[in-house]
């Protein structure tokens, strides 16, 4: 594990306990995140993306439990932190841009107070004037007038609210930002500009960012690397360019062929079948019932996420065999 990772997640397992039964929502996930990098995580609904994001901030609620693994941030394992230490870590080192930005702001509190309390909770010893100035400056950076500070959330549009959430996320200059479907509640035009703003402020801070979503187009524009999740596992991690030009995992290949392309006219391919229930995962590779290239080994042996070239990893027996 090199020192220059912003966040190093090793063998993270998060499960929902349904009575005696354990439902593995995040199963043995390992990845690194480098400073200034944007890592996209895509996957179908229920593939464990949001559970992963919440668990990294330890915001998961019972019946979800972290069953194992570590997440090294700034030299310490945040998953092992005590409540109060975790509270201090949140936002100062690790911030979140929430999924449902429409309801992510307290409806009865002015924007400036919702921004100020994040600073006050971390005892930076700033004066009121400094805090007010900082808030005004941040709002300017995300393209909002300073007067927004005096407003209530219901006076803002969806795009403005999401900009407030972005300003809020960088208020303490964290080294890692987790954006959980940051634009899914917005219309396409606003999506683009909000995403640009997000990318700009992230670059200014040189913070590492995890972008969670299922919009492949958005990922192609924003992310540097892409991780694909399927049924709680990461099945492929690749730099964005090689992912789109040469996807390795059969699931990635099918995902890409299901996207419309402006260059060639072809029938869009749908992936046959649907994601298996996490309660009754198929034996071997979880994707094998839907995989067009399935071989016997896939039905028996769970493939591991293995490095097959310099920067690329995939969890597939076929990829492994062709590479070796």
């Amino acid at each position: 594990m090199s020192q220059d990772t912003a966040l190093q997640v090793n063998n993270l397992r998060v499960s929902y306990m349904a009575g005696e039964q354990e439902v593995k929502a995040v199963d043995d996930v390992t990845f690194s995140l480098y400073p200034g990098e944007r890592l996209g995580i895509v996957g179908e609904s229920g593939s464990g993306k949001t559970t992963l994001a919440l668990a990294l901030m330890k915001l998961h609620k019972p019946p979800a439990y972290i069953m194992g693994g570590e997440a090294m941030l700034d030299g310490s394992d945040i998953l092992a932190l005590e409540r109060e230490d975790m509270r201090q870590t949140r936002w100062s080192k690790l911030s979140l841009i929430p999924q449902g930005s429409m309801n992510s702001l307290n409806p009865v509190v002015k924007i400036k107070h919702q921004m100020a309390d994040a600073i006050e909770a971390h005892e930076r010893g700033w004066t009121r004037v400094q805090i007010a100035k900082h808030i005004g400056e941040l709002l300017g950076r995300v393209g909002l007038p300073e007067s927004v500070a005096e407003m209530y959330p219901h006076e803002l549009s969806g795009g403005m609210k999401q900009r407030v959430c972005i300003a809020l996320a960088i208020i303490l200059e964290p080294s890692v930002i987790i954006a959980d479907e940051p634009t899914s509640a917005l219309d396409v035009v606003v999506q683009r500009v909000v995403m640009q703003t997000l990318n700009e402020v992230q670059e200014q801070l040189n913070a590492a960012m995890i972008i969670i979503g299922h919009d492949m187009g958005l990922m192609a524009q924003s992310a540097d690397r892409l991780a694909v999740m399927y049924a709680g596992k990461m099945v492929e991690v690749s730099p964005i360019g090689s992912f789109f030009s040469d996807p390795q995992h059969p699931y990635s290949q099918l995902l890409i062929s299901s996207l419309p392309s402006p260059e060639e006219k072809r029938e869009l391919a749908a992936i046959p079948g649907s994601q298996p229930s996490l309660l009754e995962l198929p034996t071997g590779c979880a994707f094998h019932p839907r995989c067009p290239a399935v071989v016997d080994r896939c039905r028996q042996e769970i493939p591991l996420l293995r490095r097959f070239s310099d920067e690329r990893r995939a969890a597939c027996h076929l990829v492994e065999e062709t590479a070796s």
């Binding site: 936002w91 992510s104 909770a121």
Partner: protein, 321 residues
């Protein structure tokens, strides 16, 4: 809107007592006869006619109505029939401080305590015993005021004899503003207040718990926690602050039921408030007094709803004034 409510209230007030059987002069007469103080005959008929004229009961009903409406709006509620020549508004003003004091005090305590307990019962990081209060509050909120009042009187005033049986202050003392009298009033007010608080606290607690559960699932709570805010701040400024909004609306509505419910409490505890006045007026068919009291109760509810309406935009910026 407020004016319409008041006029409508006054009208209902005029009609309803007149639908009841019996007439006030007759009732007084009946009582006199029972005591053997009246012999009947022509002289009595004359007296009856004179009294009917004095109270305006001999006029056609619509004239009575118009005069009543006009007087009511000037807050001239007429003479009490059973306590003639006392004016109704004088009796009301005398009883008012007792009722308002008792109700405002106990309702506010119960609202504050109930809302806080309710919020704690839903808070996942509250001590575990908090959740055990739920069934207790359910039982309490199902018990009627007066029944609990009777039980409390029996235990504290009759068996243990540590608190007075009834009244607002010890008989023989003269109301004045000093510490001794104040303590006396508090001792007398303790049981009625306790019965109101205990029976209504469950309503607030259970209501708050319900809203709180919904609020705790909101996205802004997740973000508040992600921001690394201390628990205390999340609990008060994010969760409770939002869950209180529907509670305040209920408060406006509940003030009405509390006001009328207190009638029974005052009867049980012999408390010289508006409720006690109403109870006695009803027993003696004192039209004007009944009208005065009910009108006043409606006015109280209308005013409190008005106040809550005016305060609400301060609590919830989404509601425009």
């Amino acid at each position: 809107m407020f004016i319409i409510v008041v006029i409508l209230a006054a009208t209902l007030n005029f009609i309803i007592p007149r639908l009841a059987p019996g007439d006030p002069i007759g009732a007084v007469l009946e009582e006199l006869r029972a005591r053997g103080a009246s012999s009947g005959g022509d002289a009595e008929d004359e007296i009856v006619a004179a009294y009917r004229a004095r109270f305006g009961l001999d006029q056609p009903i619509h004239l009575q109505y118009l005069r009543f409406l006009f007087n009511t709006l000037r807050f001239d509620l007429g003479y009490s029939i059973s306590y003639y020549p006392q004016k109704v508004e004088a009796a009301l003003l005398r009883s008012l401080p007792w009722t308002v004091g008792l109700l405002a005090f106990s309702t506010l305590i119960s609202f504050a305590a109930g809302s806080f307990f309710g919020a704690m019962m839903a808070w996942p990081r509250a001590p575990g015993f908090m959740r055990r209060f739920v069934p207790m509050f359910m039982v309490l909120s199902a018990v009627p005021y007066y029944l609990l009042g009777l039980i409390l009187v029996y235990i504290f005033a009759f068996v243990m004899r540590i608190l007075p049986l009834g009244g607002a202050y010890s008989s023989g003392t003269v109301p004045r503003l000093d510490l001794e009298f104040l303590l006396d009033v508090m001792r007398h007010g303790a049981l009625p207040a306790l019965s109101i608080v205990l029976t209504s606290v469950g309503f607030w607690a259970l209501g708050m718990r319900g809203v709180m559960v919904t609020v705790l699932g909101e996205d802004y709570l997740t973000l508040a926690e992600a921001k690394g805010l201390p628990d205390r701040r999340i609990f008060f400024a994010y969760a409770m602050r939002n869950a209180l909004l529907p509670q305040v609306t209920s408060l406006a509505i509940a003030l009405g039921t509390v006001a009328s419910g207190s009638v029974l409490v005052e009867v049980v505890f012999n408390y010289p408030g508006i409720g006690w006045l109403l109870y006695n007026a009803l027993r003696s068919s004192d039209y004007y007094m009944v009208q005065g009291v009910t009108f006043f109760l409606i006015l109280t509810v209308a005013v409190s709803v008005l106040i809550v309406d005016l305060i609400y935009p301060l609590l919830d910026p989404r509601i425009e004034r």
